[in-house]
């Protein structure tokens, strides 16, 4: 009963994620990111909906609001990039005292939000995010 993944940019209406697909996504998030010590990782779409989210069990944040804001923020920043003649920015990252947040595009439709602390350096996180993104792109393909 595996249905087609339908892209929003073609004017279509719905994404349907199968249990198998979601399990694969969760595995990537857990192994590549959570296991190296990030606090939480969330995959959202550009409308602000949450596809999948995992955390290390501490500090529950309001992820639905974060997702909505992240999508809006990313959209705004992408538009700004266009305004200054850039195709896109390669780093979108906010540094806090205890928690930091990193955003990364996974295809044009999805966004990965990682919240992490001092345990992981930004440079290392970016490497892991790149690895995770490659695997997520495959997991998100239609019929996968």
């Amino acid at each position: 009963m595996d249905k087609q993944y339908i892209s929003d940019t073609d004017g279509q209406r719905t994404y349907i994620f199968t249990p198998a697909q979601l399990s694969r996504i969760e595995a990537v998030l857990a192994e590549d990111l959570l296991d190296v010590g990030v606090h939480s990782v969330t995959l959202i779409d550009m409308a602000g909906n949450i596809i999948s989210t995992m955390d290390n069990g501490e500090n529950r944040h309001d992820l639905y609001s974060l997702a909505a804001l992240a999508a809006g923020n990313f959209g705004a920043v992408s538009t700004m990039a266009g305004l200054i003649g850039e195709e896109e920015f390669s780093l979108l990252f906010h540094k806090g005292k205890k928690e930091n947040i990193h955003f990364s595009k996974v295809t044009d439709e999805f966004l990965l939000i990682t919240i992490f602390g001092k345990e992981v350096s930004l440079g290392f996180l970016r490497l892991k995010v790149a690895e995770a993104t490659e695997k997520l792109v495959i997991a998100l393909k239609p019929g996968s």
Partner: protein
Amino acid sequence: MAIINLKKKEVQAKVVYYGPGRGGKTTNLEYIYKKFRSRIQTEMVTIKTHGDRTLFFDFLPIEIGRIKGYDIRIQLYTVPGQVKYESTRRLVLRGVDGIVFVADSLAVRRKENVLSLKSLADNLASYKKSILEIPLVFQYNKRDLLDEGIPLLPVEWLEKDLNSKLKAPSFAASALKGPNVVQTMKKIIIMTIDSLRKDLT
């Protein structure tokens, strides 16, 4: 676009309140939030200017509960109404599944309503969506001002200006006082979920 999670049996959909500036979009959400806070149990997010006007968007997630085995979550958004925020409005419209057009009943805002509706159609088109096909409800807001003697557009005029082609459901309302705020929301949620039903079976 709506997200259906077959593993968690969860549906997420996005409804945007659109319309001219100061028309009552944020007031709609604030009314819903205030009235049903204890039942909704989620926080409303607003991004405003110092002058209390929506700068980016307002956001209110509503969990409807389980229907046909699926947990349904509707995210209500408003867009900023001021003319200069056109690109922001387009951003917020991304992935929209249902729209409430909040028209301003003030006579002096007649032109702004029409221009705002046109911008909605254009912005939807930029995402290859058609205003003729997306679930849409009209709300003719500020009807309470009639009692204060302020010149308002008759509902018939608003219908003719805005709804003659679309023939969408419409409600005369007062977002400030309450009448038809919840009814508007219920209608658009039902229409939105309805449009997803075929994907749930």
